[in-house]
Symmetry: C2
């Protein structure tokens, strides 16, 4: 039985879509009402929202590792917020919020992507159901998944980062605002129906993307950028990248090719916030998961 | 005779395209070499570039009003930089840099737009020439044009802001990087040919967009956003907006229509940096200018 769902926005203060969706739901909580559920909507990083920056001291969505939550020496603004949010929604071993939806945006062309905190059967069934409603939705597992991950979603095994893009930092996009709003309502409907013993119809197989490696931009010895995502790869999130295809174009015009041996499916291509994390592209494998066998 | 051209990047520290083009030209100054010209490439706001923010204290590209440059009480980082840059490239009445190209990006779908500092005949002829090379390039005059404007370009009557988009803040786009690089080279070629008495062929008429008004987002009494750019208007920069067509969509789903009486051509639609300036859209009039009559 899922008793409580938390909908979180503003984990990154300049990702406005989640901020304004949460503010809307805080103003009109009746929109979140479902018979079998309690829903709470919260802004997780209000100080970052106030200054329209990703974070104040450090990335809040990397502050939820179990060790860090227990470490009283970590006292940055975001470390404090993480501890407060873990009190409100956690702890990881028995979270007060059974389901967590953490709303993000990306400058990558990832459409609407669901990044579950684990491959828990509930997550896979939900993913399959959402995919049947919205064929374009993508299900992606990060390099750091499971509840040891430092993301806010990892407070619950049924936690999800929802990435929506492409959207520039600091702007709203009305189309994607409405699509994300609708998606959240469908998730609440699904949880409510499941609680009431009326599981909604679902597919038997779900396609997912499993992150396998990060790739940095070309840089010089001092760490300075030497190039950009190649025009042929820009905005091609979830499309196959074959060995020998171009990944980067240096400022002086040389192509850098993908040197791997297997076809991969890049995501988070040219995400603004990942430049400082030394991530230009996250490579994933495409997998089919048979729900009957899970 | 145009003796000196200044190419400026990083006036806004999170608009990376100009930053990395300028760094490339600083590393390979021979690329800017033209027989009749001296070219200088400079990063105008290095402290903002270092923190990947638009500015440190205030928008550098609003610090070049004549009164502000003369006001010794204005001592913010950007006010100091403006005075230093004015020493290097100005003064307005007789600038050391005859031509200034200030490279910006926008989250709006403005393609490559040239915003000249004035309707000086040289600017119109250059615009017409570039338009003959690149039919998609747009020529736009801001609400604040002329040398009284507070933009960096206003240091010279032959100053231009070059806006390139859509690009999110904090990212590079390889296609637009290369297009902008090529455009700058064509401008240098044009200036060099003109200096040498071989003006390049040009059209007799040039289409320009003249800003006439700013429109803010719908807000509540406290100044909080109540809505977003309407999906039908998003990314439609330079397309005609007719009376009665939708401009905004509130978070609760109401449409707000354009109530003017004339067809206008919106630009800077949903530019990230303009939320804080209370500008959602800049309305322009489309004009044809006959160069024979100028």
């Amino acid at each position: 039985m899922i008793q409580k769902v938390a909908i979180v926005g503003g984990t990154h203060g300049n990702e406005l879509l989640g901020v304004y969706l949460v503010k809307k739901w805080q103003e009109f909580p009746e929109l979140l009402h479902r018979e079998s559920l309690e829903c709470v909507a919260l802004i997780s990083n209000p100080a970052a929202v106030a200054i329209n920056q990703r974070y104040v001291d450090r990335d809040l969505n990397r502050c939820f590792a179990t060790n860090d939550l227990a470490n009283q020496n970590l006292t940055s603004y975001e470390d404090q917020r993480a501890k407060e949010i873990a009190m409100q929604l956690g702890p990881k071993e028995q979270p007060l919020a059974d389901v967590i939806l953490d709303l993000h945006t990306t400058t990558s062309n990832m459409g609407i992507s669901l990044l579950p905190s684990s491959k828990h059967p509930f997550n896979l069934r939900l993913a399959a159901y959402l995919h049947s409603l919205y064929p374009d939705i993508k299900i992606c597992f990060g390099l750091q998944h499971g509840q040891n991950a430092p993301m806010l979603r990892s407070l619950s095994p049924l936690g999800y980062t929802i990435e929506v893009g492409p959207i520039a930092q600091g702007v709203l996009n009305a189309d994607l605002f409405q699509q994300t709003e609708q998606l959240v309502h469908e998730i609440l409907n699904y949880v409510d129906a499941t609680n009431q013993g009326n599981p909604l119809s679902e597919a038997a197989v779900v396609t997912v993307y499993q992150a396998i490696a990060n790739v940095d931009y070309p840089r010089d010895a001092a760490g300075e950028l030497r190039g950009m995502v190649h025009p042929q790869l820009q905005f091609q999130d979830y499309e196959p990248l074959h060995p020998g295809q171009p990944m980067f174009l240096t400022f002086t015009g040389e192509e850098i090719l993908y040197a791997g041996e297997a076809v991969v499916y890049p995501v988070f291509i040219n995400e603004a916030a990942y430049y400082e994390k030394q991530i230009a592209i996250v490579l994933t494998e495409k997998q089919q998961i048979d729900l009957e066998k899970e």
